[in-house]
Subunit: 199 residues, 2 copies
């Protein structure tokens, strides 16, 4: 039996499809929205419409921005000869928060994943290659995730960029800071040993 | 520093204010929405607008509905002489799912909570009293929550309804089915002893 009115049920279903939201939370959110004053509920739908309308990809690095070129690419103080390649804007923000990186970025918007039907053509790899031809790029740091798709993408990119005679690096994988070695998983530990550095 | 474009940040903030959603989930949802095809993102904002526009309170029981009178109040097969009073539509759905109750409901849309500035006037208590005068009501089952606000509301209602010479009952509180007595908290256990029934 259908316990909710149709427009309410539709709203619950929209939230249920979102990442990290189950049926119960979707219900709670829908009833929360219905309990809001009309103008505040309208603010939510307007925020969705406005974001979808104004936000698009930076024409250089493909990061999400409301400008033609994003603030990072526009920034003269950053080192435009070092490009850090990330899978998504969230990874970019995570790296920005370290305040350790002063170069620029390139956002792929995904990783190669044949099982999900995502090949190199679905990612913004063409745009990256175009930048290598135009700009005076010294180094490419590949900061894709450390899962299978991220590794496959890193391998693919490194082969693709090799002819350009640019230094290619991959961020380090090893023990997270503060970990007990006895509790580390075997794959991480073997990567940590493999990637050891002289002291 | 502001890492996200303004419209994106606004969208994240809208989701962050929702119940059960933290900063990280709000970010994930916002990026999920931006990654959707335009029409699917539009579906979400339309679902919000449509629900807020079409859903209102049933003119009898105050349950949320898209009709003037909700399907439960319209249903002739239900026993209109027994009214179950609940705090919100979610409680109503929970009771409906038991399939044990064939009467009708009255939704208060909250509970008395002086600390939050919610008094009897903010709840749909007037509408309940009006029904007692009009309809041929035999029993009121008070099914407000078992927290302080729900108990206070139940006490308030029982005093208010007493002059009407209607049978007033409160749903039973005791051990949840399947519980080990040794693990039950003291308050629940004392309510279970207090509410014991002859076998």
């Amino acid at each position: 039996m259908q316990y909710n009115a149709v427009p309410l049920q539709k709203l619950i279903e929209q939230f249920e499809r979102m990442p990290g939201i189950g049926r119960k939370t979707a219900q709670r959110i829908a009833f929360y929205i219905l309990g809001l004053p009309k103008n505040e509920a309208k603010n939510i739908s307007s925020a969705i419409d406005e974001a979808c309308e104004k936000i698009h990809k930076c024409s250089l690095c493909c990061n999400l921005t409301e400008d033609e070129i994003c603030p990072i690419c526009r920034n003269d103080k950053r080192d435009h000869s070092v490009i850090c390649v990330v899978e998504d804007s969230q990874s970019l923000i995570a790296i920005e928060k370290t305040k350790e990186f002063s170069g620029v970025y390139h956002v792929l918007h995904g990783a190669i994943s044949p099982l999900d039907g995502i090949g190199p053509d679905q990612l913004s790899i063409k745009e990256l290659i175009a930048r290598l031809g135009n700009d005076d790029v010294r180094e490419i740091i590949i900061a894709t995730d450390s899962d299978i798709e991220g590794e496959a993408t890193a391998m693919y990119l490194s082969k693709l960029i090799k002819p350009f005679d640019i230094n290619i690096s991959r961020i380090a994988f090893g023990l997270p800071v503060g970990t007990d070695i006895q509790y580390a998983d075997e794959v991480t530990l073997s990567r940590a040993i493999e990637g050891r550095r002289n002291m």
